[in-house]
């Protein structure tokens, strides 16, 4: 299980891990709309015949892939129950939807879940029995500035001339994250935002304007003062 705020690279890490161990990735992103049928499968009706299409959980168990449960703590309780069943020591799931068929996981079936901290909108506390199914837990925080810059370089093709502006943008993001951590701001920017900022710089946008678009405008929803606080930091960092 990987625990960390949004945009810290949890999904990227899982994808890289899957590629590293040569296992097919079966990703499922949880939300209020995720149903049990997405996991276990659903009945079909073709030419008068009732069939069954495997869901992502069943498919990954059969093929021994890497099941990636993204934002698991956004899932509804009934969905979590089916996972609970599959993840215990027996590593099997009974498909009551498909004539009680028992699916046992192939060797090598691996499950990785990611969860956002409970302060994030839409998250719930996971039941303890499900938490115990993930005994190895990694905490992923925002990376140090140099690492974040390195990640940005991989997602963009910024030249040396733009590097100073991008570096300032990352510094700004870190300051905003610190302020949000102590409840002085309502929102904490993720690495997606620093990458978006860098892409704007790459496309020729002026640094201060790009920072306003990516980092400041979002705070406008909490009022002028919140927006202005961030704009003031941007002005102090980028100037004219």
């Amino acid at each position: 299980m990987i625990i960390g705020p949004k945009g810290t690279g949890k999904t990227t890490l899982v994808k890289a891990f899957g590629a590293e161990i040569g296992r097919t990735l079966y990703p499922v992103n949880f939300s209020l709309r995720t149903r049990e049928s997405h996991l276990v499968g659903t009945k079909t009706l073709e030419n008068g015949e009732v069939g069954f299409v495997d869901g992502i959980l069943v498919e990954s168990m059969k093929l021994g892939g890497l099941l990636y449960l993204d934002e698991l703590n956004a899932a509804e309780a009934d969905v979590l129950l089916r996972l609970d069943e599959a993840l215990d020591d027996r590593r099997q799931v009974v498909l009551k939807e498909s004539e009680g068929q028992t699916i046992t996981a192939s060797k090598g079936w691996t499950v990785i879940a990611t969860i956002n901290p409970l302060s994030h909108v839409g998250t719930k506390e996971l039941p303890p029995q499900l938490l115990s199914r993930f005994p190895v837990r990694l905490r992923l925080e925002y990376p140090p500035e140099e690492v974040e810059l390195d990640i940005i370089r991989r997602h963009t093709s910024i030249g040396d001339s733009a590097l100073a502006s991008v570096s300032t943008g990352v510094k700004l993001a870190n300051k905003l994250r610190e302020a949000a951590a102590v409840e002085e701001l309502y929102y904490s920017p993720s690495m997606r935002e620093t990458i978006a900022f860098s892409k704007l710089i790459e496309s020729g946008s002026e640094a201060k304007y790009a920072a306003q678009l990516v980092f400041a405008n979002v705070y406008g929803q909490w009022g002028d003062v919140e927006y202005q606080k961030v704009m003031d930091m941007i002005t102090s960092m980028f100037g004219n």
Binding site: L32, R33, S37, T42, K43, E76, D78, K96, L118, S119, V121, T123, E125, T168, K171, K175, E178, A179, A181, V182, E183, E184, K208, G223, D224, V225, Y227, Q228, K229, M231, D232, M233, I234, T235, S236, M237, F238, G239, N240
Partner: protein
């Protein structure tokens, strides 16, 4: 008045200069308002309130200095003071700066930045009143400016503006004598690159040599990343060149004195142009740069926001409140961070976050198993229902700060702060009042008016109320009656840990509030379950519609917010 010390022998009549200062400031404000109609017409006659200013100052200084517990307060003194060990910045008030209101704000903001840099990079800040401290502070200013500008490049324009507008404030060296003249000459030449007035040739030699050494000291410190301690060790060398006694008192602290008169726009533009040429000699479009610095457009929008916010606060009738017997906790130099229990706030918010205005899905089901085919064919009602969640309740909260709270005062404040953070997070419209006894007089304090968002200012107000005195609830209800009639809270919570001293009167007031249409709820705080139950039962006899009891302070947010959903 009385913000600057004037040396006995300089011939100035303090009162005269003060009056002149006021006059020129008002003239310059008039000019500013007249010629900058586009952005200042709405600001005419408006000032930034201290509570609004301290909020932005605290936020900025914490980000600039990377000290999440930095505290900013105001002083009537001319020079700022920073205590790195206490994480505290004491800044002159806005009125202590020269120029029109916007110009004052810009200089004040630059001072805040310098002091935040001192907080971050200096380990020692001495008084400007003696030669040693004066020289050390000047060297440190140069060092931290250079380091700080690496990160906060956008401050350069504002520093140039500050330096330009300070020119008239700097004393003419011809009018100074002795130590004061030498030190002021050193300060001017070292920090700005020019001297205002003349020095005798022997004095000039000393000052020039001292500046040369000071510059090389700062450059070496920057290159080798030496800190304040090393700089401090070099100060005697500079003092020796200047040939002054390191502990001699400087009669008039000049280095950042705001004592003086305002500048006309053309004078200011000329000064700024000189500085831009000196600091950025390679710059091509100097005129454009100078105009941008003089206008300060970026900072203007920030200033306008603060003025608008101040005006919004003034509309809330703070002045009238005093006449009604309700006080606002006055101190702004309170460290509110101790009242922030971030974990508790997170937990409380997490518990109720689904209640935020918005849409949630409710999953309805019946029977043992869900048969999708049967559902599709036979069930007429939708399987998923979207419910709109809104909490539009108006809430008024009264917090008991009687002496019996003393034992758990900090925890009580942390919990009530978490409650207010959560209510704010949920978008509930609420007002918070507290009562205590101050110097034998019962005080009803305004913590948060209904139309003001919960912010660090509210927390500062809460943090400074000292628990003392009894529980004269009826008296407090009496003071709050006009507020209840105008705000018309749907729920009025009273958090108290004891029996009120005036039960019959309380009953009468509770009934009168109920007639206005407010649901009266009392929350009794006990040290243990037995005591909590006993308090809860006693409160029931006071005609509250509902009385609850908690023995754990942490349960308060859950109890209060729980009632809103019901």
């Amino acid at each position: 008045m009385g913000r600057c010390r004037v040396s006995k022998g300089n011939g100035y009549d303090y009162l005269y200069v003060w009056k002149l200062d006021r006059f020129l400031i008002s003239v310059s404000e008039y000019k500013y308002n007249k010629f900058n109609v586009t952005h200042s017409s709405t600001l005419e006659g408006l000032t930034v309130r201290d509570d609004v200013l301290v909020e932005i100052a605290t936020f900025l200084s914490r980000r600039w200095s990377d000290k999440p517990k930095a505290l900013v307060t105001f002083t009537e003194e001319a020079n700022p003071k920073t205590s790195p060990d206490k994480n505290q910045i004491v800044l002159p008030h806005l009125r202590g700066y020269a120029g029109n209101r916007f110009q004052k704000y810009r200089q004040w903001r630059v001072s805040l930045w310098y002091e935040s840099m001192r907080l971050k990079y200096s380990t020692r800040v001495l008084s400007y009143d003696h030669a040693f401290g004066f020289v050390l502070n000047a060297l440190e200013k140069k060092r931290i400016e250079s380091i700080g500008l690496d990160e906060w490049k956008g401050m350069m324009d504002e520093i140039i503006f500050d330096e330009g507008i300070s020119w008239l404030n700097r004393p003419l060296l011809n009018s100074l004598y002795g130590v004061q003249k030498l030190l002021e000459g050193f300060g001017q030449l070292f920090l700005t690159g020019y001297i205002k007035g003349e020095l005798f040739s022997s004095e000039h030699d000393k000052v020039a040599k001292a500046v040369e050494l000071a510059t090389s000291v700062v450059q070496e410190a920057l290159a080798s990343q030496y800190q304040t301690k090393w700089i401090e060790e070099q100060v005697p060398r500079i003092i020796k060149i200047l040939q002054v006694d390191p502990l001699v008192l400087i009669p008039f602290s000049t280095i950042r004195s705001r004592f003086g008169i305002s500048m006309s726009e053309s004078e200011l533009t000329r000064q700024i142009e000189k500085i831009v040429r000196r600091r950025r000699n390679a710059e091509k479009n100097i005129e454009k740069s100078v105009n941008a610095i003089v206008e300060g457009t970026d900072i203007l929008s920030e200033y306008e926001t603060l003025v608008r916010e101040s005006k919004r606060h003034e509309n809330e009738g703070y002045e009238n409140l005093e006449n009604m017997g309700i006080s606002i906790p006055p101190r702004l130099d309170v460290n509110e961070s101790e009242v922030y229990d971030t974990n508790l706030i997170h937990k409380t918010k997490a518990k109720f976050k689904e209640w935020r205005t918005g849409w949630i899905e409710r999953h309805d089901r019946s029977g043992d198993e869900f048969d999708s085919e049967a559902f599709v064919e036979f069930i007429p009602t939708p399987f998923i229902v979207d419910l709109k969640l809104t909490i539009k309740t108006r809430v008024m909260i009264l917090l008991d700060h009687s002496s019996s709270i003393q034992e758990v005062e900090l925890k009580y404040k942390q919990v009530t702060n978490a409650l207010c953070e959560a209510l704010s997070f949920l978008g509930v419209r609420f007002a918070v009042y507290a009562f205590s006894t101050d110097g034998k007089q019962v005080k009803c304090w305004l913590i948060k008016p209904p139309n003001y968002r919960w912010s660090s200012i509210c927390t500062k107000r809460l943090a400074q109320i000292r628990a003392s005195g009894g529980t004269p609830l009826a008296e407090i209800y009496g003071l709050l009656e006009p507020m209840v009639r105008s705000f018309k809270p749907e729920i009025f919570f009273t958090l108290t840990d004891g029996e009120p001293s005036d039960t019959d009167a309380v009953r009468h007031m509770v009934l009168s509030f109920r007639k206005i249409g407010s649901h009266m709820v009392a929350l009794g705080l006990g040290r243990n379950i037995d005591e909590a139950i006993s308090i809860g039962q006693n409160l029931r006899y006071l005609d509250y519609e509902r009385s609850l009891a908690v023995s754990k302070l942490e349960d308060i947010p859950k109890k209060v917010i729980g009632l809103l959903k019901g």
